[in-house]
């Protein structure tokens, strides 16, 4: 009785290494759970799952090479995209060429999907679905907030989301008083912050990866920069951020595509969100964040599609994915015509008392949005 091979190119070394760790945790948890349950039911035949990893060294061309290696050399049946929109997009040309169904678990920008590819699917909604609800809450809770300062890492995702934020803010009649980019590997933000401080903003919106945001938060404290609203993406979604930023993180808001506080009753192998979180805790002694969950759900989605198709035939599985309309621990999953998920409503949350508290949407809300960040 054979196994089903899934290929997963990861940035295990290089700049994105921290992300690779999360992805791998997510995929492994899914694979272990499936195999513990006997495997995937393919037309009545239980087949075990095997995930083949390669390291693409945080380097996009290597990611493409890795994808092709997995498909042609390792003969994987299905593929998980490499991390982020850029690499996912580059690699999608390969999987499309070989007709291998591919799920991107961390690609949000719509340019990835509007290439007219048939075999690419993604679990992240477009970036504006994060910034719009945020803006709505702020407008509603603090009508006085007018001056927005944006500081973005000059890098694909962080920059894209910052630009969305600019749009959302303007649409709601706020004016963006500062919009600065900082270079990758910036080791000091004091000047940018001094400028922001001088513009006395009501809302400070900063994007980047954990290390950037941890450093930023620290230097904000160093310069005693305070504001009614401080939002950071994607740091606060990660437990490391909360640990690293310490008490200074209080009331920092953020948004992401998923949150452990969510309460969905899924028909996937993990079932409810609680179950997933429990399983994750049991395995890794920490709370899952959206990156890990997305990796897990990507596997779960493949599983559902395969079981529905009852075969490993790539085209058939692809059609099942395209037609899919299910509930999962990740939330409702339905892919739009481009392959990007359309059904998801990303939660907005805030760090209160050293914990993340969901403040939106209603069904999974845990507390109210608080103002004032020191």
């Amino acid at each position: 009785q054979g196994t089903i091979r899934f290929g997963a190119p990861l940035p295990l070394t290089g700049a994105l290494a921290p992300e690779a760790v999360k992805q791998q945790q997510g995929y492994d948890l899914w694979a272990e759970t499936v195999n513990a349950a006997g495997g995937i039911d393919v037309g009545g035949k239980k087949m075990k799952v095997e995930i083949v990893y390669t390291d693409y060294q945080s380097n996009t061309p290597r990611a493409v090479q890795a994808a092709e290696k997995l498909i042609t050399q390792e003969k994987v049946d299905f593929l998980f995209s490499p991390f982020g929109s850029g690499a996912a997009k580059a690699a999608s040309t390969v999987s499309e060429r070989y007709g291998v169904p591919t799920i991107a678990s961390t690609a949000s920008s719509s340019q990835v999907y509007d290439q007219g590819y048939k075999y690419l699917f993604g679990t992240f909604t477009p970036n504006d679905t994060l910034t719009n609800p945020l803006s709505d809450i702020v407008v509603q809770k603090a009508p006085g907030v007018k001056r927005v300062a944006i500081l973005a890492r000059n890098d694909l995702f962080p920059l894209a989301i910052a630009q969305e934020m600019e749009k959302s803010a303007k649409q709601r009649g706020m004016n963006v008083v500062v919009f600065e980019k900082y270079a990758i590997n910036t080791m000091d933000h004091s000047s940018a912050l001094a400028q922001i401080k001088a513009s006395s903003p009501h809302w400070i919106f900063a994007t980047g990866y954990i290390n950037d945001l941890v450093l930023l938060k620290k230097q904000m404290a160093d310069q005693r920069i305070e504001a009614p609203v401080v939002t950071m993406i994607a740091g606060p979604a990660y437990q490391e951020f909360i640990d690293a930023a310490g008490p200074g993180a209080e009331n920092i808001s953020s948004a992401s595509w998923w949150h452990p506080a969510a309460r969905y009753k899924g028909s996937d192998i993990f079932g409810t969100t609680e179950n997933y979180v429990k399983a994750f805790r049991a395995r890794y002694k920490s709370d899952p964040d959206y990156a890990q969950a997305s990796a897990s759900v990507s596997g779960a989605l493949f599983q559902m599609a395969i079981e529905k198709a009852g075969t490993l035939d790539k085209a058939k599985v692809r059609d099942e994915l395209a037609a899919m309309n299910v509930m999962t621990f990740w939330g409702p999953v339905k892919f739009g015509p481009t392959g990007q998920i359309t059904s998801l409503e990303p939660p907005v949350f805030q760090i209160q008392g050293g914990k993340t508290v969901v403040v939106h949407p209603q069904p999974i809300k845990q507390g109210d949005f608080k103002l004032g960040v020191k």
């Binding site: 390291d55 996009t60 890492r153 694909l156």
Partner: protein, 313 residues
């Protein structure tokens, strides 16, 4: 044309038959091999012949990738883009060389390194032209015209052709007055000055030659992967690897550079396949071992054996 060059050329020529046998992935490896060979051979002109430790390879590559890439994105023909990138790199290098090459040793090394950094940041911030941090899409649609496997072999053959071109030119330079002059400069620049070598001009030429083909490779590469972003094409490793390859093959020898490139990539691929967690470490280990026990590179193996033989006689 000595025996070594003959062997080199026949070997490289034979490589051209790869599309007949290889499937797409082998082709991809082949393309990378040719690309790095171009880089190593080019570097050898400034680094090996003239003795100036240049770290500008990444700068040339990135420049080529973006200069050509932007043109391609705007719909220019591949050939045009490549020619443009080459010309740009050559001109830039001539100008830059005139100033930078007044520096020696480490100072030059760092200056050339900084060039790549500056270019990267400039590319990063020239958002409307290059897409900046968002990367640049190059919808060069060869796949539809020549088909899936066709695309792979197309770019392989293109890169292979570029390697041949590079080799022909570089070997010609080696034999020429220019090559002789560079050797003199490497061994004693002030003495070279004194016998009438126009050091500044010669060095600039060497620098430009070390850039032009790399830039062309950059454009080809951009067209090949359809999507480039600054951190990828200005990657410092593009500067370091060719040097390691040249050292591996044997400093100052064109044959060595090619051998080094192929050997290095072979090792890297094997290590990369077999060690998920520790492949960079293993690679580092191999580099260290090779340097300590084969300091004069692969081409020196033959010589060593000869010497041993001589002793035994």
């Amino acid at each position: 044309m000595n025996r070594r060059d003959l062997i080199l050329f026949t070997a490289v020529l034979l490589l051209g038959a790869l599309p007949l046998v290889g499937e797409p992935y082998t082709m991809r490896l082949g393309t990378f091999a040719c690309m790095y060979a171009v880089m190593a051979v080019s570097w050898n002109v400034i680094g090996g012949m003239a003795g100036y430790p240049s770290f500008a390879t990444a700068a040339f590559f990135g420049l080529g990738a973006y200069a050509g890439g932007v043109l391609l994105a705007k719909g220019a023909a591949l050939a045009v883009a490549i020619a443009f990138a080459g010309a740009l790199a050559f001109g830039g290098a001539m100008l830059l060389g005139a100033v930078l090459l007044r520096l020696r040793g480490h100072y030059f090394a760092i200056a050339s390194l900084a060039v790549a950094e500056v270019l990267r940041e400039l590319t990063n911030t020239a958002t409307d032209l290059t897409g900046g941090g968002m990367g640049l899409n190059i919808p060069l649609d060869t796949a539809s015209t020549v088909g899936v496997a066709g695309e792979a072999s197309f770019f392989f053959l293109a890169m292979w052709g570029l390697l041949l071109l590079t080799l022909v030119v570089v070997v010609a330079v080696e034999r020429s007055k220019l090559g002789f002059g560079l050797t003199c400069i490497r061994q004693n620049e002030s003495a070279a000055d004194m016998i009438g070598v126009n050091a500044t001009l010669y060095k600039s030429l060497a620098f430009a030659l070390s850039g032009v083909f790399v830039a062309m490779a950059g454009t080809l590469y951009a067209g090949w992967v359809h999507y480039i972003e600054p951190p990828d094409v200005y990657d410092i490793l593009f500067s370091v690897k060719p040097i390691v390859m040249a050292l591996l093959g044997g400093m100052g020898s064109t044959t060595g550079a090619v051998l080094g490139a192929f050997a290095f990539l072979g090792i890297e691929e094997i290590v990369w396949r077999n060690y998920l967690q520790v492949h960079t470490g293993v690679l580092g280990f191999l580099v260290v071992v090779l340097l300590l026990f084969l300091p004069n590179g692969i081409v020196s193996i033959g010589r060593r054996l000869k010497m041993l033989g001589a002793r035994n006689v």
